[in-house]
Symmetry: C2
């Protein structure tokens, strides 16, 4: 990790492409709060905490960067309050990089009485009905108050399937907001500003969005408007069409994705960054991700099983607790069950992307992905014979 | 810690009185799973987990021993299942000593359709209505299946205030059950069996109970039927009358007690062991125990306060997170809030008894207790001026 005290000026944000394996990319982002090895999975610290985990536990899984949700944080505790308390890193005791979203996605999915105009969006909090306005400029201001390292432009993300006219309208609005976001962001070399490609599942719209964003110029390019209801094959097709149109020397971030299989597919199509609440949410619901695929610990097959989740895992939590104990914790709704399984899932996600990074460096990503998927297809251990 | 592999036979349970300071006692219990320094506070691992904490976190607070609840464990996952999975220590990955209660107290407070007879108690699970029978013999059997290190006799615990006749009846029944418990326990030098003194708030009944139990002979003496609705002064009076009647060379355990103030008062009256769900439950409800007393983090006075709970605490969690962050976690009902505050409170309880042990060794317990209570009386930090 870089020691800011050792350098006269903090290093600016940068991205270096280190290796490729087909379209798959191995890279590194440098920030004044530490490096981010890519492909990277970013755990989601929704409201200033990765649910059910201490920040050092999250780091120990291998995470270089967290995601914070602007919508949640602007409501509680409020961006100005976080700034007065020293910024989000200090607030949650996570000294490493943080990426924030623009807030727009959750305004669309959670807030009440939304009204979208050219200027921005007004809405009422889903918690207490308080009225807010979010504009491209205010979103940048909030993310700066949070002291985010990687900032997203405000965009309009629509669900799929959608009419072409609607996809085009939202994409064009997002481009105009991208322009205003860039102006509001100004010159801040220690932070990165990412533009967001929209355009639904339409290749021509996606291409226009990508070109428009590049003419504005961003430090990285996010891909929004996917994993919003479309089949995985549609998402993969859009990615395969889009990533060749993005600059090779900037990071590419597929927003809100996904399950392990989505992540391998995204990496295979040239994506560098991912985030998703899925691993921690699945953990809270009793699901564990391992090299055997997903294991539902609520299932009664585990109730007498003394075997750990995966005795060959590098993660101690996968080796030290029996499936019977995990089943018991899930059935009794004990917090420790959510704590362990959130950790297990984040650790598995980090193991997955760390393996991908190594495989790309060795120019063997396709074989790596096939080997991992074969493990999942093989399924969980057979039922315990002793039980 | 004792290495069982190094000894040809595991050492038997024993208790050594090391020092006194007035009636306050400094001692040590030895078990084949490790020593227990007394006065000891035992965190409650209700259903096979100290809520919201990993076992190593509990150990790191200074806990030498946990308490497991027989009632909860016999319902889920079931004593025979725990035994088949290697016992409670293996099940929950806590290799150190465990004390189990008899199940009787929670049968009385939680179960449905209870029927008490000379033989024992029948009841239906509060979870699913399944019928169970708990007798003195079955309670010993269950606690042995759990592989408990310190086993409690089954007793009948009644609430206070109560009629003298009712207190006498329950006390006499508990004595007969003590006799049967001793017979059922047999000879097991690696485990301890504790009798339970009953008799409500009546000194004569308590004395008869204490004498009756000693004529049977136990490895330790629990004091039940307190902290069941009576004022603290009543509890302290009963303790002051009772502990001189108990043998000096056996440990004394005040069951289900209590708040920090109760614990200092119990130590002052010759108690060696305590347990209570209060510190973890209070933590889940947003209350933090520190040398300033109890702090309600739900209170809006903390929302802009950058100060930690207690910057002079030896516990990192008391120093690293701002009150504003803890307030935020409590208000947003994030699990991390419960995790941190459970740890903070257990660590404070352990700090309290560790200080008492040192003070007794130095023959200065009374002054120690006054100093601690003066700290609580002084109250929390004044409101943050910067806020």
């Amino acid at each position: 990790m870089i020691d800011p005290a050792a350098a006269p000026f903090p290093p600016p944000f940068s991205f270096t492409l280190l290796a490729t394996s087909g379209p798959a990319r191995r890279g590194r982002m440098t920030t004044h709060r530490g490096d981010i090895e890519t492909p990277a999975f970013m755990p989601v610290g929704t409201v200033g905490t990765v649910k059910a985990m201490y920040p050092e536990e999250v780091r120990a899984t291998g995470a270089d960067i967290l995601l914070g949700n602007t919508y949640h944080l602007m409501l509680r505790p409020g961006a100005e309050r976080v700034a007065a308390l020293g910024g989000l890193h200090t607030f949650m005791d996570w000294p490493r990089p943080i990426l924030t979203d623009s807030g727009g996605f959750q305004v669309m999915s959670l807030a009440k009485l939304r009204k979208l105009t050219e200027k921005g969006v007004t809405f009422r909090s889903h918690l207490d009905g308080t009225a807010y306005e979010l504009t491209p400029e205010r979103s940048i201001e909030i993310q700066t108050l949070l002291d985010s390292d990687i900032i997203m432009q405000l965009d309009e993300c629509i669900a799929l399937p959608a009419e072409r006219g609607e996809m085009e309208r939202a994409m064009e609005l997002s481009l105009r907001w991208a322009d205003r976001s860039k102006a509001a962001f100004g010159v801040q070399p220690q932070r990165a500003l990412f533009g967001i490609v929209q355009g639904g599942d339409d290749a021509a719209l996606r291409a226009r969005s990508a070109a428009g964003l590049q003419s504005i110029g961003f430090d990285g390019y996010s891909i929004g408007g996917l994993a919003v209801g479309e089949p995985q094959e549609t998402m993969f097709r859009v990615l395969a069409e889009l990533t060749p149109l993005l600059p090779a020397d900037k990071p590419r971030y597929l927003m809100g994705v996904g399950k392990p299989d989505d992540i391998l597919g995204g990496i295979a199509r040239g994506i560098d960054m991912f985030d998703c609440v899925h691993p921690t949410r699945a953990g809270r619901h009793g699901h564990a991700y391992t090299r055997f695929g997903v294991i539902n610990l609520k299932n009664a097959r585990h109730k007498d099983d003394p075997r750990p989740l995966d005795e060959a895992s590098p993660n101690p939590n996968c080796r030290r607790f029996s499936r019977a104990y995990l089943h018991h914790l899930v059935r009794t709704e004990e917090m420790l069950g959510a704590m362990i399984l959130s950790q297990v899932n984040l650790a598995y996600y980090q193991e997955l992307v760390a393996g991908a990074r190594q495989a790309i460096a060795d120019d063997g990503f396709a074989a790596y992905a096939e080997r991992i998927k074969a493990g999942w297809a093989g399924g969980d251990l057979p039922p315990n014979q002793g039980a």
